[in-house]
Subunit: 148 residues, 2 copies
DNA sequence: TATTGTTATACTCTATAACTATA
DNA sequence: TATAGTTATAGAGTATAACAATA
């Protein structure tokens, strides 16, 4: 009977809320939302179109228009018209956006890193491996992504 | 030099987004938002006033009025006037709210449990312990909570 | 016809500031 | 005066549906 105690699941969600709250607070200190931070993060090594971006963020394309509008208005991203398809554009992070993204990432990493440093080196390594495996299983087991 | 590779932090955030996306999808299937689910969760074993509820959710009290309004309109919670203080009220989850909360919690737990079952029993136990410790360190190191 | 993206509309969520009523 | 809570207002984020322009 796979009727396991939910303490692991509860713990994982508790940790998720802690991490997200911290990300949210740090982002807000720079007048950004979590979604905007994610947007900039995705653009770090990609120059996707609106549809691809929507897929990455799991949002409707119409939701992206406003999201990108606001980011563009702040000079964080640019719409680059596609030369081959006059309907399409790709979204590119600006130097300013990249910088802001980096500042936030560093602050968040420093803070969360301090958190995980209650664990000794060996345990941190082990935790990283375990978390990595669960993430991989999520990609395989889909559901959230498989739905579309 | 504490300049650690950020792979653990990245992994933790990646996992957080996966979990939140799943919670969000399952909640949406029941026409609830993540915040509403958290609200019901907090009320599972408490009957707090608006201010206490705001503190738990890390929201302004004014944000709670609407939140509770919408939950009350759907019959998920009730405002119980305090007999001793005519300004105050406590928020109580209804039987319907409790039931909905349970249904969602079970669906989420089942799904995430399936995810963590890529790990063998021993690793799941270990993961639970490590996650628990990091959560505890968050409570100690504050920052998110210490700010207020 | 199909695809890329935007616009119109409506709702939830959130904060700040001002307010009401009670303590 | 101080506290519990609401209201007014504004803005971000999101979805659905309809639309425009291009393929």
């Amino acid at each position: 009977m796979p009727k396991p105690d939910p303490s692991l699941v509860d713990g994982l969600f508790q940790l998720s809320f802690v991490l997200l709250a911290r990300l949210s607070r740090i982002a807000a200190e720079h007048d950004l939302s979590v979604v905007q931070v994610r947007l900039l993060g995705i653009l770090r090594d990609r120059e996707p179109g609106m549809l691809e971006l929507a897929r990455h963020l799991e949002l409707e394309k119409s939701s992206l228009s406003g999201l990108v509008d606001r980011a563009e208005k702040r000079g964080l991203v640019e719409r680059i018209p596609s030369p081959s398809d006059r309907r399409a554009a790709t979204i590119r992070v600006t130097a300013q956006g990249r910088k802001l993204s980096r500042v936030i990432a560093e602050a968040v990493t420093a803070e969360v890193d301090a958190l995980v440093h209650v664990l000794p080196e060996a345990d941190r390594k082990r935790l990283a491996v375990l978390v990595e495996r669960v993430c991989a299983s999520s990609a395989t087991l889909g559901a959230a992504s498989r739905t579309r």
